[in-house]
Assembly symmetry: C2
Homo-oligomer: 334 residues x 2
């Protein structure tokens, strides 16, 4: 039994294949009588007028699934944009499904995407900690972005949080700061640990350490940025720079420095992390911050997924570098 | 010519239909030899093992497309969540496609979604201004959310920005404020106009008007909130409340009031709009704000779409009410 083709439908309806295609795709430039004849022919032949069926022979559907658990979309939407740009907006559509960090919901969306015969999947986590693999038995290739898979046989693309911490300190050192404190989020986030480690490694290269001798772990909030800065200043050790683990924390740091009548960047320089523009651009002064280049991460994920779809899968963890976005909260680097 | 069914495949492979289904769906609990036999049978019969094809007879695929142009996801993601909750996470998957406000990209995603035979579409705009209709000739029902369609024959669900402006002033009036100023965003946004209109209508009911006699239109930024507040205070007319057109503007208003050593809410009460929690919760004091209830909008969009899919389409513009979230920036309402 041979599969029914568009040509069969066109022949039975006595129209060109182009017209049959237009009619089946709901395009307006086909008159109603012709459309009805084509639909009747398709129905008689049990022809499924869908792109998935038509592309099965070519082995491609031009659709990729993006399975995310990032409720706010702050991380997944730039990755989505980068991936779409890499695929080419005219060739591939990316369908985003929101699993909300719920394994059952993730499985449901996974089945829905696979049953729509997507060509591949990008899985984006809500935080940079590793996550369970979807397994190797899926019918399409998978690339993990932002959160790496626990299985080293999978391909994961992650942000270089250690390198980002190094960059932040490097920027402050170039601006002449020597007494640097680090105020960051919850210690159970690998992002907090990695950024702190990078900062400390970079300081150690010059035989320096963090002011007060410790990382100020707390919460990813402005309130923590304010509170930690107040306590840091109360301890009385001179500080000429604060590296904040997120832009929200940095915002609180700026407010507490202003309260203490310290000038930024003249008395204390401040650098954040995330380049969340709604926060960083609107701070006073505008915030210098480390950008994770999430669109670049999305582009690389798309490129790796395209290679895997073409039979060239990779595995392991690929680290995508960060960059510093200079604004007013650090002195201009000469 | 009869369509090939799962039963045909199972018969040829000499397995139960349940086993054939599991094998075709890539489930792990089928042994490799059986899976190979089922796949060979499906291939010989040109059977397309996809849910779309299988569900064609039932007329449902359990998939809905959400076409958005909201780059930051601040509006579309809560709508997505509300829609998913209404559909039931276990029954329907919502696929989000990002059109970035680009008509060609939107058409491409639209074709991709329709060719995957989604049961219906929810179209979410980036701002509450009306947008062109996708047209009535689509093969599935469409519901517009947040941005209404220009065509009154379509069904649109929108936020009640006029009502939200009324609620803001109502809240301030109940807290005893009489000298209310309004600082808001770009005047070419219908949201800015509608919120201002609601505020003025509510004041007029008590024969009151805005302080300084005008709406302070400007930009949706903290910087404008600060600058406008400074100029407002310089004009010297007493003010006991400021209604800000967004939480970002409100944040700038709070900073400028603090600069001027005015206490919030004792000297001047402040209310924002959006309930953008990253901003509103972290303000000092935490910001009272109007919430557009976007998840509720998403739920209603899903319910209306489900009704349309079941053959009960509606049309017109349905307005979804806002609510006030009380925090510290307005005096407790007795």
């Amino acid at each position: 039994m041979r599969a029914v083709t568009l040509r069969d439908v066109a022949r039975l309806a006595e129209v060109s294949t182009a017209t049959a295609s237009k009619a089946l795709n709901g395009r307006p430039d086909v008159n109603a009588a012709t459309r009805a004849r084509v639909l009747a022919a398709a129905s008689r032949l049990s022809f499924s007028p869908n792109a998935v069926a038509r592309s099965l022979s070519a082995g491609r559907t031009g659709t990729v699934g993006l399975l995310t658990s990032d409720l706010e979309g702050r991380f997944s939407l730039p990755i989505l944009m980068g991936a779409e740009d890499a695929f080419g907006a005219e060739q591939t559509s990316v369908f985003l499904c929101d699993a909300r960090g719920d394994a059952i919901r993730e499985q449901h969306h996974l089945r829905a995407l696979l049953s729509r015969q997507v060509d591949g999947l990008i899985v984006v986590g809500a935080r940079p900690d590793s996550r369970p693999s979807l397994g190797a038995r899926l019918s399409v290739p998978v690339v993990y972005a932002y959160s790496p898979s626990e299985n080293p046989a999978d391909l994961s693309l992650v942000c270089d949080n250690v390198g980002g911490g190094r960059l932040a300190v490097d920027h402050l050192r170039t601006a002449g700061c020597t007494r640097i404190a680090h105020i960051t989020g919850e210690p159970d986030y690998s992002a907090a640990q990695d950024r702190a480690r990078g900062a400390q490694e970079r300081l150690a290269e010059e035989s320096l350490g963090l002011v007060t001798g410790r990382v100020w772990f707390g919460a990813w909030t402005e309130g923590w940025g304010r509170g930690a800065t107040r306590r840091l200043l109360q301890e009385g050790e001179p500080v000429d720079a604060i590296f904040a683990g997120s832009d929200q924390i940095a915002r609180g740091v700026l407010d507490a420095l202003q309260e203490a009548q310290l000038r930024v960047p003249e008395d204390v320089a401040v650098i954040g992390f995330d380049n969340w523009e709604a926060i960083a651009r609107e701070s006073r002064p505008a915030l210098t911050t480390v950008d994770m280049r999430l669109e670049s991460l999305g582009r690389r994920a798309a490129q790796a997924l395209a290679a895997a779809i073409d039979g060239r899968p990779e595995s392991g963890v690929v680290v995508n570098g960060c960059r510093v976005v200079q604004r007013g909260s650090t002195a201009p680097v000469a």
